[in-house]
Symmetry: none
Subunit: 213 residues, 4 copies
DNA sequence: AATGAATGAGACTTCATTCAT
DNA sequence: CATGAATGAAGTCTCATTCAT
């Protein structure tokens, strides 16, 4: 590798050749942007706010990022371009996979909360920002297809009821999950994570193949 | 200084323009604000944009509404303070009432589309505007309680299954409906109004008292 | 809304102007503010006026000073935080010190005139700007205490009459001086610097220890 | 008199012919303006503020007063065009007259406080508002001449020391009084009305003819 | 007489961006 | 690479004033 050393003082020794550790990485910037968007909304933050949160000067920020639009795209991508890491669950039986996926709709950690706050802003944002819409158009559909595939696998495997329409059920699960997440966000006092989980569990149970008896 | 102390000698705004005959009502303003929010997002419009859309001067706007916050509140109220006119359905049997209510989640008219576009922006907006959140926090809960009451009436009337938990089902219906609406908004090509209606109908059917046999 | 949430898509201020080579220091700004206040009164100037006088853009102003309040405070401080350079007089006998101090109440130079014009505006300004009052309330008292200390030293040194109450005389001298300054400002034709000086001298003489005889 | 009745219902009886009691009199307006100026400074109030304080609509206000400048003049006049009502003291011996005049510099009532707050604003105002300066130019000098006349009368009457220069002493008394008033206004905790009165009394005593003995 | 509607000018402030160092 | 200076555009809001009713 030919990248410069990680410290400002030129170290020619063992660490030579590693990429210089920038004071602010693009990832750190994108992360801070997401935080800002969660806190203050899609358009409720300024470059200065971001610079302060990152502890760098405003000049430094614009030095790293062409403009705000780019920043926005970067932030969205950091949340959504990589498919959620469901690959780890591949080996699980479909029903268990579904359970894991359903779990993502339960807001019981700050991280989950952040994710759904961002989701709401994102849903609003793609509605009127063409640049975002163009870039992320198929994201929603992709997730639904993923759900559908898992459900179809469950039917094939005999875990789920044989008369299920995977497309139909995927849309249903996604809608139910999203709606529950919003409710937890807006009226947490009236829909606790446990209540939401119960609703999802009830639904998932209804998908299973009726055990003969 | 927030409250500037302008000098007096150089009188400002001495020659005011002729007032037009145009009259703008608060309702018309609120309506335009809703349109603007749907088109450009919660924070994506300026007072000038609004004035131009209404065909009045900028000063006229603040003459009718103190400031932008007021404008926002008025717009929200115009959409949400009046409960949807469900009173007309009072006489219907509960199951029919539920069907009507479910129908509101189907986006098959421009008007419905506008309503749900606004809803998404609204969900995002209340997330970071405390004044709005304080004002509208109970709106969501109020709707759920309304649903719960209708469901409870259905159980009592014998239309719906006797083992239903109205609160639970109301939350579920609301979540499902909201989620379906968002899906119709974002991926209309993949979730048509008919598909959404089918999902809701399936769900409502599952609530009914199993016909004996 | 106080904190507007501008949209992001229509990027604002994309093409910023070339920065000039002109450099404005905080001190230069404060100085210009003092001039402006003297000329047009406490609230009789705008940020634009100031920018034009300094030959910089409006944005540059807020780049150096957060807002108008800050500007005001800075201007006040530039006139008053540093005690007038009386330390040089430390070595003089108290009576001579008093004479020098009294001299500050004589308006016989443009600089003195500027100082007292500002003082009058300042007295008015602190009357209704709480932030300034909080900041500068003790300034007046500090000056009186300084006077009292010098007078007390004079009594101790035997220069001044032994039956003087330093506090009482300090208040008296300050009041007389301020009043004379205002009179010179408002009716210069009827109270010349010489007349004012004569009044102060008469007063200071009356403080001296009666020559025995 | 031919003016209409004081009530809106036409009363032809005994009260016919009296000037209609307007909802807002010019005097009431001027009075409110003075209050506003005392509270918020010379330029720190708006027509709307004034209308609210008077309990009338903004339209009504401008219906009565041509413009703000007029209002300002009117307010100043209401305070200063009429010479202070010292005529009542004409009959008193000059020393007593002086004592009464001195008393006006003591801020021990809300009314006095109001008067001196206004004075400070006025002093500042005439410094940069040419219209005011033109109208009130000689006010300050008039007051000093009045003082001088009383002192001269005192000398003639034998109440005061014979070697006094009335002009000189009048300027001195006015300066001392104004300065004391400002001090009471700005640092009331450090110069009480009593302390101020003591200083003035000491001064006035020093003017008296030394009692032989 | 009284008032509400209307308005243009201008106030302060924020902000994304460019550039020289 | 990092940063502070500079700036024009645009934002929200205030305000004195005019006019029709």
């Amino acid at each position: 590798m030919t990248a410069p050393s990680p410290t400002t003082t030129p170290m020619r020794g063992r660490s030579a050749g590693r990429p210089r550790a920038r004071a602010v990485s693009r990832a750190a910037i994108a992360d801070a942007v997401v935080d800002l968007i969660c806190d203050r909304g899609f358009g409720g933050w300024s470059m200065r706010d971001l610079a302060e949160r990152l502890g760098v000067s405003l000049g430094t920020l614009t030095h790293h990022m062409r403009d705000k639009q780019t920043l926005l795209i970067e932030a969205m991508d950091s949340m959504y371009v990589l498919p959620p890491d469901w690959s780890r669950y591949r080996r699980l039986p479909p029903a268990a996979q579904l359970a894991r996926m359903a779990e993502t709709f339960i807001i019981d950690t700050p991280r989950r909360r952040r994710g759904w706050r961002f989701w709401v802003e994102y849903m609003a944002g793609v509605g009127h920002n063409t640049a975002l819409r163009d870039r992320h158009e198929q994201r929603y559909e992709r997730q639904r297809r993923f759900f559908a595939r898992v459900i179809a696998a469950g039917v094939t495997a005999g875990d789920l009821a044989t008369d299920l329409d995977p497309e139909h059920e995927a849309a249903r699960l996604l809608a139910l999950g999203n709606g529950l997440a919003v409710q937890q966000l807006v009226t947490p006092d009236h829909l606790s994570p446990e209540a939401a989980r119960r609703i999802l569990t009830t639904y998932l149970t209804s998908l299973q193949r009726p055990s003969e008896g």
